[in-house]
């Protein structure tokens, strides 16, 4: 924990963040040092949009917090700060009171407006 900003020291990069780190490391010497930062911000913004499409089913909302963390909120105003997708789902589970399961048929109805388990038509 850093005493100045109250943020945890992150020793473990979650696998879903790995490509950003790999890309930043692979950048050629002398290339624009700001470019990976831009990539990272775009990626985070994109992730927030996509994750919110899922989370709305559970009445939750995710926001980027200063480009380093995310804040997860429910409609009662409770919130949790999360580092990555690895800590998002346990936090969401605490706020909602049950496990968020992507296999849950009701989630399908929210996402595509179709009844659960319509047989895939194969294309």
């Amino acid at each position: 924990m850093c005493v100045l900003c109250g943020q945890d020291f992150v020793a473990q990069v979650h696998w879903t963040d790995r490509h950003l780190e790999d890309r930043a490391r692979a950048a050629a010497p002398g290339s624009d040092p700001v470019a990976p930062q831009g990539d990272r911000r775009r990626d985070r913004a994109h992730r927030v949009v996509l994750t919110n499409e899922i989370l709305r089913h559970y009445g939750l909302k995710l926001d980027d917090w200063g480009g380093s963390k995310y804040v997860l909120r429910d409609r009662k105003g409770r919130s949790e700060i999360v580092q990555d997708l690895g800590s998002l789902w346990p936090a969401a589970e605490r706020l909602v009171g049950r496990t968020l399961d992507p296999l849950e048929p009701a989630l399908r109805e929210t996402l595509v407006g179709e009844p659960a388990f319509a047989p895939a038509d194969g294309g």
């Binding site: 490509h19 994109h46 996509l50 899922i54 968020l100 399961d101 992507p102 048929p105 399908r108 895939a120």
Partner: protein, 339 residues
């Protein structure tokens, strides 16, 4: 990495009690090409292994707060690997080419992977390139019937070695081979009579490292009791961020039931992303510069326990708007264009 080279490959050798792990290791270690290989074993069995870089580790697992078995850290392994790294970096042993970790027969291989991926030091110096699982042709079917651990070991394998084929009936060997293919269509299966096998072939990280995903056997989703496997593709490029959201959510909710996920994902870049996971543990996904073969479609295999293939496909189908592509089961009569 700090000393200017890529990570040292770690090969995990797993397999049920008496399935011939040690015999195989003894055979493998006698090859000159394996002389700079360190071996970590749990017990010195009756078959003596003679090797200068042999270390014994006592399985000491530290269970993390959530109590999930596959997310335990093997402290003994961490210590042994750190020690090897230290010796290697100080030049006290010849340059370390590979580490082989032999598990106990009952061990679930997932904690070994987790230990290496999660340790702040080890993750930069070691990578798991292969999981080899031995199955005994005589008792293999029995183990698979009675022990879920045995099924998990097959699911976690990149290559399966069927041992003692000389001592079993040809019919039962054939039956076992087809069963293994049904449990884990993505694994390559080798036969080893009398412990004899082609070492180079076995340890060659097939083609593109652990990423070699053989074409899944054409066919419908396979069901072996509670264990199901399904191979699928997508009708277009998949948004990698979206796939990460779906898979991390699935692994949080049902990780213990997802025995394996392995494959290439077309994310609209020059090459695919290699996805490889065992229960809650995901290998660091690798973005390849190019496809390893002509087939540029996504190919993913899921091996699950208690999750039916139609549930998985239904969930992926529900996420199609987020992914930007629809899932298609790979197999006969599914209209997947063959290239």
């Amino acid at each position: 990495m700090a000393d200017g080279r890529a990570t040292r490959p770690v090969t995990v050798v797993t397999g049920f009690l008496g399935s011939g792990k040690t015999t195989l290791l003894g055979r493998v270690l006698s090859e000159p090409s394996m002389s700079n290989t360190a071996v970590l074993v749990n017990e010195f069995g009756e078959v003596g292994l003679d090797h200068h870089l042999l270390r014994r580790v006592d399985e000491r697992a530290v269970l993390l707060g959530n109590g999930c078995v596959c997310c335990t850290t093997r402290e003994d392994l961490t210590e042994a690997l750190l020690e090897l790294l230290d010796l290697d970096q100080r030049g006290e042993i010849p340059r370390l080419d590979r580490v082989v970790v032999e598990t106990t027969g009952l061990a679930d291989p997932a904690p070994i992977l987790h230990t290496i991926f999660a340790d702040p030091v080890l993750q930069h110096h070691f990578s798991v390139d292969l999981v080899l699982t031995t199955v005994d042709a005589v008792n293999g079917n029995l183990h698979l019937d009675r022990n879920l651990e045995s099924v998990k070991q097959i699911a976690a394998a990149d290559k399966v070695i069927v041992t003692k084929t000389d001592a079993a009936e040809p019919d039962s060997v054939r039956g076992l081979l087809s069963r293994l293919g049904a449990i884990n269509p993505s694994a390559r299966v080798f036969e080893a009579a009398f412990g004899e096998t082609d070492v180079d072939e076995l340890f060659r990280p097939g083609g593109a490292g652990s990423h070699a995903v053989p074409a899944p056997a054409a066919g419908e989703p396979h069901d072996v009791g509670e264990t199901h496997s399904v191979s699928l593709t997508f009708d277009g490029s998949v948004d990698w961020t979206a796939f990460g959201i779906w898979l991390s959510m699935l692994l949080h909710a049902r990780g213990e039931d997802v025995l394996r996920v392995k494959g290439f994902l077309d994310v609209g870049e020059m090459g695919p992303v290699v996805v490889n996971g065992v229960q809650h543990t995901i290998h660091p996904p690798e973005h390849l510069d190019r496809w390893p073969d002509e087939d540029h479609r996504s190919r993913i295999v899921f091996i699950t326990k208690g999750i039916r293939p139609e549930e998985l496909l239904g969930s992926l189908e529900a996420f199609r708007g987020v992914f930007g592509a629809r899932p298609l089961p790979l197999g006969a009569g599914q209209g997947v264009p063959s290239s």
